[in-house]
């Protein structure tokens, strides 16, 4: 089976590790690429510079609170691009502000998820993401 490519846009090394650990025991073959800020994420998606050989992800996990170019700016950029906009973007953030939620959906985020407290709940969230996006949902073949 072809591996599922996930682009994780996250600046906190702890969260990156948590995500890697949670996806490790996946029954799917998952390949995680990490961008640690908004600029890197856009370079990766547009295959610029050192990312010329990057593969287009099947799913994007996007943190909102990023240095310089914020998560919502990255989201807006993705959803404005003819080709990139088909990729599901899951917002993964600690923000519980109503305003962030509505703003992300207005920018066409595919779903908005709060980073849970504790590894067990984090694990559960990752499993749900896998189950829904890799199993139930049909994604476009790129």
């Amino acid at each position: 089976m072809k591996p599922i490519n996930i682009l994780l846009v996250e600046d906190n090394p702890g969260d990156i590790l948590l995500a890697r650990v949670a996806f490790e025991k996946s029954k799917y073959s998952v390949n995680i690429d990490v961008a640690m800020d908004g600029e890197e994420a856009l370079d990766f998606l547009y295959k610029r510079g050192m990312f010329a050989e990057a593969s287009t992800p099947d799913l994007i996990l996007l943190d909102l609170n990023l240095p310089a170019i914020s998560g919502s700016e990255v989201l807006a950029d993705i959803k404005n691009d003819e080709e990139l906009r088909v990729i599901p973007v899951i917002i993964l953030t600690t923000s519980q502000a109503e305003w962030d939620i509505i703003r992300c959906y207005r920018l066409h985020a595919n779903c908005f998820v709060n980073k849970p407290f504790g590894f067990e709940s984090f694990d559960k969230v990752v499993q749900s993401i896998e189950d829904f996006w890799f199993n139930i949902v049909r994604l476009p073949v790129n």
């Binding site: 948590l18 407290f117 504790g118």
Partner: protein, 385 residues
């Protein structure tokens, strides 16, 4: 307040007739006024004196050779707006005088009644001093109010941002401790597992405190006033509390609830906190019975939430409303101690009061007042980041 007579009054006199100047001096001295005077006749000297002599009061003739009292007044208004200005004239008509006073001239003295000049000066100075003091106080009050508003806003912002940003590192601590617990349970001994247990427990409690703090500071931020049927609010609160209601078989009674113009989600939080407390602080093994009433009193409604729980000692009547203040230890009743402080904040924000009556061992009755919020300026919605 009396004018201090020993203080020298600086008088600027605008007059060209030497005889009139003499008479004026005579009256001022007769009136026992302790003064110094500068006498000018020309416009240029007058303007100069206003600036450099800095008079306490101006006495001006109405008709001057190439100048007049009215113009002198408008010049004074420009340069020293708070200095009283009295016209001293033999020719000014009653009508003219009224017009001048309407436009701001302090007073006028007729030359044939020159003996009134000292009382009029004294009164004008007293009034101008009072006016100045009042203005200064208003200015002070205004600046206090602005400062208070600013520091309140800053404090709210601070609490909100701090609690938000504090969650990040704490989430790391909690998550990795759990991961450690999950992955290394079999490799560590009993003691090590116990240590981890307390660390995980501490992190989760800290997390609750922070999110409660966030909640508390949010009570000041988001606010939307609309018609709210309080009985619907209570129904919703009961729905949210279903699990604990079912667990102990609590009975909740309420009737005749009003519809008020209030913030819907804050009302829900208020009733949920009070009913939740009534259930939580029940007697051991007892079945909670909770009665909610509402009665109209003048412009406001008096609500009560009464329970048959463990009660609160009256000596804690203030303390129970303080944020994170608890009367029981963690093992007996869990929680951070935020519920009543949020309830108080909500009630007060709606212009009401909250208090309780209780008999330990018998039950507690919480009272609070609410009224429809009508002030348009209070109705805003603001959102944090």
């Amino acid at each position: 307040m009396d004018l201090k007579m020993n203080e020298q009054v600086r008088i600027l006199i605008l007059e060209h007739e030497p005889d009139d100047i003499g008479l004026l001096h005579y009256e001022l001295k007769k009136g026992a006024l302790h003064y110094s005077a500068t006498i000018v006749q020309e416009r240029e000297n007058y303007v100069q004196a206003l600036k450099s002599y800095d008079p306490d009061i101006v006495l001006s003739d109405y008709v001057l050779p190439n100048f007049d009292g009215a113009t002198a007044f408008y010049i004074k208004k420009e340069i020293s707006p708070d200095v009283p200005f009295i016209i001293v004239s033999g020719t000014i008509g009653e009508e003219n005088a009224v017009e001048l006073i309407k436009s701001g001239v302090t007073d006028y003295v007729l030359k044939d009644k020159l003996f009134t000049v000292v009382p009029k000066i004294t009164r004008a100075l007293k009034e101008s001093r009072e006016y100045k003091e009042k203005k200064e106080q208003e200015k002070k009050l205004e600046s206090y109010a602005r400062e208070l508003e600013r520091s309140n806003k800053e404090l709210e912002e601070f609490a909100y941002i701090t609690s938000h940003d504090l969650q990040e590192p704490l989430r790391m601590v909690g998550s990795f401790l759990q991961l450690l617990q999950q992955r290394y349970k079999d490799k560590l001994d009993k003691e090590a597992n116990e240590y981890i247990h307390y660390a995980v427990d501490g992190a989760s409690r800290m997390k609750r405190l922070i999110s409660d703090l966030l909640n508390y500071s949010r009570t000041n931020k988001e606010w939307l006033i609309e018609q709210v049927d309080i009985s619907e609010t209570i129904q919703e609160a009961l729905k949210n509390l279903r699990a604990s209601i079912n667990e102990c078989g609590a009975i909740i009674e309420f009737e005749n609830m009003p519809t008020l113009r209030v913030d819907r989600s804050q009302m829900l939080q208020l009733f949920q906190n009070l009913i939740g407390n009534a259930i939580k602080f029940r007697k051991e093994g007892g079945q909670p019975f909770i009665k909610i009433t509402a009665a109209k009193q003048d412009t406001e409604w008096l609500f009560s939430v009464e329970d048959n729980g463990i009660g609160i000692d009256q000596q804690y009547s203030e303390k129970v409303f303080v944020i994170f203040r608890k009367l029981h230890n963690q093992t007996k009743f869990e929680g951070t101690g935020i519920g009543l402080s949020i309830a108080k904040k909500i009630v007060e924000r709606h212009g009401g009061r909250i208090w309780f009556e209780s008999e330990p061992g018998k039950g507690t009755k919480f009272y609070f007042t609410l009224q429809s919020v009508n002030n348009e300026t209070d109705q805003y919605t603001s959102r944090g980041r």
